[in-house]
Symmetry: C2
Subunit: 423 residues, 2 copies
Amino acid sequence: MRFSNLLFNSLKESPKEAKIVSHQLMLRSSMIQQHTSGIYTWLPLGFKVLKNIEEIVRSNQDQIGCNEMLMSTIQSSDLWTKSGRYADYGKEMLRIKDRHDNELLYGPTNEEVITDLFSNYVNSYKGLPKYVYHIQWKFRDEIRPRFGVMRGREFLMKDAYSFDLDHDKAVKTYQTFFMCYLKTFKELGLQPIPVKAATGAIGGDLSHEFQILAKTGESELAYDPELVSQDLLEKSFDEITSMYSASDEMIDKSKSNVVIGRGIEVGHIFNFGTKYSEPLECYVLNNEGKKVTPYMGSYGIGVSRLTAAIIEAFHDDKGIKWPFNISPFKINIISSNDKFIDIAGELYDTLSKKYINISFDDRDLSLGRKIKDSELIGIPWSLIIGKNFDEKNEFEVINRSSGEKFFVNKQELENFQFEQYTP
Amino acid sequence: MRFSNLLFNSLKESPKEAKIVSHQLMLRSSMIQQHTSGIYTWLPLGFKVLKNIEEIVRSNQDQIGCNEMLMSTIQSSDLWTKSGRYADYGKEMLRIKDRHDNELLYGPTNEEVITDLFSNYVNSYKGLPKYVYHIQWKFRDEIRPRFGVMRGREFLMKDAYSFDLDHDKAVKTYQTFFMCYLKTFKELGLQPIPVKAATGAIGGDLSHEFQILAKTGESELAYDPELVSQDLLEKSFDEITSMYSASDEMIDKSKSNVVIGRGIEVGHIFNFGTKYSEPLECYVLNNEGKKVTPYMGSYGIGVSRLTAAIIEAFHDDKGIKWPFNISPFKINIISSNDKFIDIAGELYDTLSKKYINISFDDRDLSLGRKIKDSELIGIPWSLIIGKNFDEKNEFEVINRSSGEKFFVNKQELENFQFEQYTP
């Protein structure tokens, strides 16, 4: 995309209301704009990042045979009354009355809806296990929304739900999602710490949070240093969960050899058995023709929050440093002045055929300002056509993360390994 | 995807509440389920269709340099009060109060939000023209939601907005979107009739609806038969709009040589000048440094409604007949009995590498039932491994639309032109 077409206007200074670095940088780089308290517009750059994250989350859900679908944002209160959570949810639930005075709500989560729906489509053990998910906007009417999209009111969440015939099978399913989450966060460039968690409002007997280490994290975290020193994907569920980790009030202060840090929760999984299937009268017939209640789990990832969490993990004083697969653009072409604007345009057309997301800063601004904007946005590579092109027909390629500069001719540019990038 | 993993259960009979064929077929084929009046869950099959349509709409918007972004579903009432539409919208607007008693609403459209946002990012004529769009859920609290997703309350719409320096430029932009819409609907397999329209609640001096002919259409339509006898994309905006078309009360009863039909509105575009930029105090500086008010337009496509409109256009008494690029699956592999289940599984794996969306009906059901389900869902091709495979190593390939059968060996199957399909 050409910057002249892009809805973008960088800010030099951080808006006062932004207290944490991800919020500051998202506002400064035109990723988001606050519409009203805790509700954000995703500008073109932020939207691209959100979609890239969503796509990584999606492909990992698909890989474990999870069915993508979409439940509505607005729900009827009926099922919530039946499950007993309509009263429990308190003021965090956005309650609505329609023109006929029916009680509606903006879904904060979907256990009730999916349990009811499931029982309309599956009625035999032969239909089990069944995994479904959706990536949909949720609303929680936080009393004090803060930290930008880190704790917004309208937020994008991937929530998956599983149905199994018995407790043991449900635990196996839980382990499948657990390992899938480790893989997902790794592909997002993050190193998550799985933390045994309280089950809270969702309920159940087994639950883990996935936390990303960050100074700005909301909760305190204690963990076995082994948990971050290795690739957890090569270990089994039992090996991983045998290592110590705990957050907030669950931390054992007497424990030695643990690291204390702060974490951002980016995922949360629950195994809650028949907590919803029972009150909502969800049954299947087992192989003896007897009615049995399916065992369920739910599995959330905070997609919009992840944009901020990734920035907390990858930034410096110049701006954001996106991982290659998440960055809104992979290469930003910059011409130092008008003289090279046509050559830059041609290069943009050529590279756009090879890479999907190339940008071309064709604005009438100084080279310095364009480079600053490229660094602020966090595009992995800047490709400058300037002095060196004039003198030696060479392009200048700058690595956003390391600051390394490469001077390459046209042939070398074609073979340049742009994908080899560490934020 | 394997049918054993899919959340799917076909219904033989049409549910009573469904009055039109698209609603009946979407319920019978597990595309959607009603959650509550006018609000639907998109089951895996329906969701795939919705995404395929969305992708065609998206790529056509991108091609004209329109920036994708995302505005929130929940809006503050402030801007609506400023534009004067907060009172006008009446009971169709879903009004909400949050825990602090702030007045919110579920966005039925986005002229106010985008106008306000634009003025924060563009302040010079150099930033014009600017085109932005989003594909987001909207809510209109219809007094009598009906016809399934054709007239739901929560619905998915693509809405684009344009900003130009003056009226003439805005009209050029309007023409660009007009032609883009013809191309979009053509790629969706539809033949739209552009109809000069009243501007209604959106306002402005120039507006067209895009209507699809269907017996079940909600509005009456009169049009020059030339409009559907040719590829409109080869004509200019002026040539197309000089041909007669009108809907509802705008029909000129004295007109001869016109066809009368019924239409489903799938798109609506508006050129409304400064109707929103003025009250919302949106300005840019022109090349003389003087404040001027940008000229705007908005351009809607009913994405969720299109799923139903396409079914109205493509179905028979057996079920849906999806166009190839919209169908949830392109080829459905069916084994006639357990004997071939492994061969079918291998074929599924092979074809899945070549085509993205292959299904494999591995359920323990009769061949007849599986074929019926394939026809009901509307998958373009069924690939049967049965009697002929046993006898002659031949696969049976059935064209959903024409009913034609082809018997092919493995080599012929590899070269089979599955994309050559007309619904």
